[in-house]
Amino acid sequence: MLEIKDLSVYFGVINALKGISLTVNEGEIVTLIGANGAGKTTTLRTISGLEKPTSGTILLEGKDITATSAKDRVKMGISHVPEGRRVFPSMSVLENLELGAYLRRDKKEIAKDLQMVYEHFPILHTRRKQAAGTLSGGEQQMLAIGRALMSRPRILLLDEPSMGLAPLLVQEIFNIIGNINNNGTTVLLVEQNASMALRIAHRAYVMETGSIVLSGTGADLMQSEDIKKAYLGG
């Protein structure tokens, strides 16, 4: 469904991505793990169009979208939950969710999706009139995911959804990601919490300083000695 070939990104002279290639198939959860600064966030930002690659191609269902604007990528079904949630703090929860459906005009279907988001995250319904900036970290993460779902994505890019959350909440967020995937949305998940990510993912890629160094199924990588040592604390 999503295919990246030889993608390179430079920030000035810094080579943030050094020709990475990866594939995400329809219906999969694919995770991208690695240490801080490995280029995971840059990869997602380039896929959603916030960064321009210096070389390489991004294909969505076989179509080259490397030069497509971020806006059109949203239209084509890519939705990105950025690192640090990035909800609009002084807007209400409802307004945030409505902005998620910014490009859509099908009012009835939008209302349906709003109900769907409230079913995934009942707390958002309770807090719908509250300013997003006043929510707790976990609630903001739920809002960020809910907002991304409002564009009715084919593929959801998630950047560090567990960051800064209590373990119980992390579990809840991962359960919801699983549910979203079961409902038919493809997921590309960037995580530092490698053990959680590998448990949920069908396949995984490991990144180190701008390159992909390892890939395989989630279960395989969990057994790998290198991965255990480097990322799973044992």
Partner: protein, 294 residues
Amino acid sequence: MEQFLQQIINGISLGSIYALVALGYTMVYGIIKLINFAHCDIYMIGAYVGYFCMTFLGIGFVPSLLAAMAVCTVLGVTIEKIAYKPLRNATRIAVLITAIGVSLFLEYGTMFFVKAQVRSYPPLTGLLAETLRLGNISVPMLQVLILAITVILMLLLQFIVNKTKIGKAMRAVSMDQDAAELMGINVDTTISFTFALGSALAGAAGILVGIYYNSINPLMGVLPGLKSFVAAVFGGIGIIPGAMIGGYIIGIVEVLISGYINSMYRDAFVFAILILILILKPAGLLGKNTREKV
């Protein structure tokens, strides 16, 4: 007491004009963190467009107002496209210096075409020349008109910003440009639209000040522009209701100082307010103290 009320009424008229101009400063600052120094000259151009419409084309006040707003809208958007957009990723100081350059260009460009002399608006006729008497207080219809137009424009602005889709996009871009882009919002269009709104309001303020003070010149925007900027900072730069409140407070203070102390000191007082607010509450009246995020 009567004199005081009379002064307040004058202050409200002046404050309306400051508020309209301050809105443009604050909206542009809110969305691209630029103090658009050329904004005060858009206001000046608005005054000239109104003057030419009313004097040479002989069309009435309302069509002239609309013409001034339309010309300023186009001008504001064009300036943004030519001067500021190529600098979207440049340092803030580079854009600021460009804004000062655009401001000087507009001032002296206008002077080249219309000469430096002061021009007078045609006298108002009919209902607008009348004066309303409320007891011992006299309110020229002109002042009623200024307040009415300002209130209508502000309500319209509030509606656009809070209720429409493009208004929501404006707020989203001003809060978080990347996140807005991820919603599918076209950031460039939204910024253009912000310049359009601010410039239209400045154009309206220009023609209102023309009929109020009756004289215009190519450098007329400089001082009111600075004061409107003070008003925007006073209310909390980037906050729309703050600019409205700030505009009225600065207008009323200025008139009261002129009336009760000495009109020579009115500008000094306005800028003293700026210094005070920057010391006591740097984020402005309605501003929240936020840390600059890295």
